[in-house]
């Protein structure tokens, strides 16, 4: 919601060519791509922002940046294959070229969260759009109160970034709790839903900021649990997803009540959208 960075002033509707430098398979249907520009430098981005990725001849989709905002050389994106475009992106081979425009949208309020306890709550693929914020926070963790990363997934095999989660969990300045909906007995961690983890965390609700990203149902239940624990609605931020076309606030495709998710979001404060989240058709 703050410090968003605008896309390059050149035609924001024109994708620039970016080379796939490396691909890392995360799970059966999720891959992380390193993209470097064919020309010029990678634009800066703020955690929470997204790019429009274009698979030539197939189509264009919004995808959040999942890399480190301190690395100015590339864009890192983590994509799940769900349909034609995302499947083509996940299948992109190293060396191939994708179109990219961005970055677009609002950012996680990382700076505004300084001095607060911070709960970063992700579900499923939602860890990817939060990862840049986690990198930024952990690079200056002394500026925050207690920091917790709560992550939920369907099962162990579908969890993203497990090595990194383990590395963060080994640090003294952050608590990491991972839970899965169900599992076979080889998993020795939490089993249960993400909102249930909130009760186990130690934080001062009157001085806590929460950043949430995941499936909308999980966002709703998590925000409700946070409100129940006493966290103020304007201290809870959610990243929303809606279908997009222009990504620059022109076409209205991404309208979510009074907001355009591409321009006013994707990161929005809960107090602004709580009522809309409860309405089925929006």
């Amino acid at each position: 919601m703050s410090a968003a960075i605008a896309p390059s002033p050149a035609d924001p509707m024109l994708p620039a060519p970016w080379r796939v430098r490396a691909v890392r398979r995360e799970t059966a249907d999720v891959a992380t791509l390193d993209l470097v520009p064919l020309e010029g430098d990678a634009p800066r981005f703020a955690p929470g922002q997204f790019n429009m990725l274009y698979a030539f001849g197939i189509g264009e989709v919004p995808v959040s940046v999942s890399g480190d905002p301190a690395d100015p050389t590339r864009f890192v994106h983590t994509v799940r294959a769900v349909g034609a475009v995302s499947t083509a992106i996940v299948a992109a081979a190293p060396g191939s070229v994708l179109g990219l425009r961005g970055p677009f949208g609002s950012a996680w309020p990382v700076d505004a969260a300084e001095g607060h306890d911070l709960l970063i709550v992700a579900g499923g693929l939602g860890l990817a759009p939060l990862r840049p914020a986690i990198y930024q926070v952990l690079a200056g963790s002394e500026r925050f109160g207690r920091i917790a990363v709560l992550y939920g997934g369907r099962g162990p095999a579908e969890l993203l970034f497990r090595d990194e989660l383990a590395a963060w969990g080994a640090r003294a300045d952050v608590t990491v709790a991972v839970t899965v909906d169900h599992s076979d007995p080889s998993w020795h961690g939490h089993v249960g839903v993400v909102p249930a983890l909130i009760k186990k965390m130690d934080f001062d609700p009157s001085n806590t900021m929460a950043l949430l990203c995941g499936p909308e149902v999980m966002l709703r239940f998590t925000a409700t649990a946070l409100r129940g624990a006493g966290v103020a609605a304007d201290h809870i931020f959610l990243s929303m997803e809606r279908n997009m076309k222009c990504a620059i606030g022109l076409c209205g495709h991404c309208q979510f009540g009074a907001d355009f998710v591409c321009k006013d979001g994707p990161v929005l404060p809960y107090d602004r959208i709580a009522a809309r989240l409860a309405v089925r058709e929006i």
Partner: protein, 154 residues
């Protein structure tokens, strides 16, 4: 006995309970340890005890033929295991297995039921504490049922 009573009353499930009830409960309570892999109880077995976890982790498992068991919940320190001791025919509906070294209080179900029947204030106090846990677990189970991380959502 005195230490057991103090430790029992320090369990979050019983936080703030009238110490007089604590004295009643401690008569039904024993201290238990489970090694990793050891079962607290198995599906279908008599629900003759219920457990307050002090330390460790307990997985609740469901079995289906020809499939590996599925863990449907994992419970840790401060949580309780099992409600079937309250509901006839007092049989467990799933397996509960310690996945780490686990310490728990075991509360004898017959003893507890008798004391709750004899003293409805105690009975009400126990229900008041149990019901929110059961409702939260039911809500969690509903959320799990939604399979929110499936392929049609983020």
């Amino acid at each position: 006995m005195e230490t057991l009573e103090r430790l029992l009353l320090a369990h979050p499930f019983l936080a703030g309970i009238d110490p007089a009830f604590g004295r009643l409960l401690v008569g039904c309570t024993r201290n238990l340890r489970f090694a990793p892999g050891q079962y607290l109880f198995r599906e279908g077995g008599p629900a003759d005890e219920f457990y307050l976890i002090r330390e460790g982790r307990v997985a609740l498992e469901l079995h289906a033929p020809a499939r590996p068991p599925i863990i449907i919940a994992a419970l840790g320190a401060g949580e309780l295991v099992g409600a079937s001791w309250l509901v006839p025919p007092y049989r467990w509906g799933f397996d509960a297995k310690a996945t780490t070294n686990t310490r728990a209080f075991g509360l004898d179900a017959t003893c507890l039921r008798e004391k709750c029947d004899a003293d409805h204030h105690l009975g009400y106090e126990m229900m008041r504490r149990l019901l929110p846990v059961m409702v939260r677990r039911m809500q969690a189970a509903r959320q799990q049922m939604l399979d929110v991380y499936g392929h049609t959502s983020a």
